[in-house]
């Protein structure tokens, strides 16, 4: 063998090893299935493609869980993992899904809304592929996804995303961001078909209140808050004041800007009768000036650089050595959703919603998130939904 081919062979072996190792990790991540256990309140499970036909057979299709009460009442929708790198959303939605019992009205939950985004990774930012939540029976493993859907499922990106129907020019990346593609359309790009499906649910089911659950940087002003349009801002304010007074945590209200299109808290209110609320909990993992993006940072939110910035008053949330543990963020989401539901039920008693067995902030902080997840090995097989 010539010297040239000896060198080439060595390079080929090295590159093949690199492709095989990384490729296997990416493949396993994309196809890893999270077991979701339908709790005692779940009465029906459908697919989002039942409401948006263009999703059938695609990676963007996802499960929709219904928890219907015996007594008729209002309807509430929880959308989680709009951004799959903001995991407090899926964790709080699963606490509802695995534990809630609806006494009056209906609760609809879409725990993995941007299913394609949940199977997308962010190696350029050094994101880990998975995280685990300790439970009473072991641990539950989740994928860490990305903000945008995978280019394997929706491609190519345009130079500029022209929002439908307002024609506002948005970043090219936002064509794969399910918090910019509202209200969506049946035959648009894949992510528009996802939001179209959710809009269809809200219109067909006459949903009264909808939550889109998120996490945001501590250096970003729209964090630790409830974002609501004009129609929903009074309920948001009442809930914000109540949780501060009764449960001792801050969650201020931000008005939904009229001129910024494609966001759930804007378009849901404009294109349906549903009152939308976007919930943000602080997520230090997303901040730029942090140390390595580790699972520990994701779960505990402790970072020396953010601590230093906090002392210089550069953050928009209180921050100390304890960081921002996941259980605080999830607890906040649970309490805020329950409180808005309570305020809504008071204001519209004929459309009241009553849910029991969902913990509030103090209980989640005390018992941990995993305490509320059920063991898939002990659950009835028919109640486990892998996605």
């Amino acid at each position: 063998m010539s010297r040239e081919w000896k060198i080439k062979s060595i390079f080929l072996v090295v590159i093949t090893v690199v492709i095989t190792i990384s490729g296997l990790q990416f493949y396993k991540h994309r196809h890893y299935m999270v077991p979701i256990i339908a709790g005692p309140g779940v009465t029906k499970v459908t697919k989002l493609s039942d409401y948006s036909e263009g999703l059938k057979g695609t990676m963007a299709d996802t499960n929709v869980f219904y928890l219907e009460g015996k007594e008729k009442g209002g309807k509430m929708l929880i959308i989680a993992n709009t951004h799959s790198n903001e995991p407090a959303a899926i964790l709080s939605s699963l606490i509802f899904l695995e534990n809630a019992v609806v006494e009056k009205g209906t609760l609809i939950i879409i725990p993995q809304f941007n299913n394609s985004g949940g199977r997308n990774t962010r190696p350029g930012d050094g994101y880990p592929l998975y995280f685990e939540i300790p439970t009473d029976w072991g641990s539950k493993k989740f994928r860490i996804g990305n903000r945008e859907a995978s280019p394997l499922d929706q491609w190519p990106d345009p130079d500029v995303y022209v929002h439908y129907p307002d024609k506002q020019l948005l970043s090219f990346l936002d064509v794969r961001n399910t918090n910019r593609t509202w209200p969506g359309r049946a035959n648009g790009p894949l992510m528009e078909r996802v939001t179209f499906g959710a809009m269809h649910i809200m219109q067909e089911e006459k949903v009264d209140i909808a939550f889109d659950v998120h996490g945001a940087e501590t250096m970003f002003p729209v964090t630790n808050c409830i974002v609501a349009p004009e129609s929903a801002i009074r309920l948001a304010t009442m809930a914000s004041l109540t949780v501060k007074a009764m449960e001792g945590f801050e969650n201020h209200v931000e008005p939904s800007p009229k001129g910024f299109r494609g966001l759930s808290h804007r378009e849901i209110g404009d294109y349906s009768d549903t009152l939308p609320f976007l919930l943000e909990a602080p997520l230090p993992f997303l901040d730029q000036p942090t140390g390595p993006k580790t699972v520990d940072l994701l779960l505990n939110g402790k970072d020396p650089f953010l601590l230093s910035l906090s002392k210089q008053k550069k953050l928009f949330v209180p921050y100390d050595e304890t960081g921002w543990p996941m259980k605080k963020r999830v607890g906040q989401h649970c309490s805020v959703m329950l409180e808005i539901m309570k305020q809504f039920s008071r204001k519209f008693p004929e459309r009241a919603i009553k849910i029991k067995n969902v913990p509030r902030y103090a209980e989640v902080v005390k018992n941990g998130i995993g305490h509320y997840f059920h063991n898939p090995e002990k659950a009835e097989k028919g109640n486990i939904y892998y996605n």
Partner: protein, 51 residues
């Protein structure tokens, strides 16, 4: 799969073919040989629909 996606995979395959051709043709410059292989990684992962 939409037609435009198929066209993109064809473009990816074309560039991958060009890189392989250049890698084979390169006789002396070791850095270029390595460069061709490194550039191939994302194209291979995309064609295999892994990443």
């Amino acid at each position: 799969m939409p037609i435009i996606m198929i066209l993109y995979y064809m473009i990816t395959a074309y560039f991958l073919g060009m890189l392989i051709w250049n890698f084979i043709k390169e006789k002396k410059n070791v850095e270029d040989m390595l460069l061709y292989l490194l550039v191939m990684i994302p194209l291979v992962l995309r064609i295999l629909r892994v990443k």
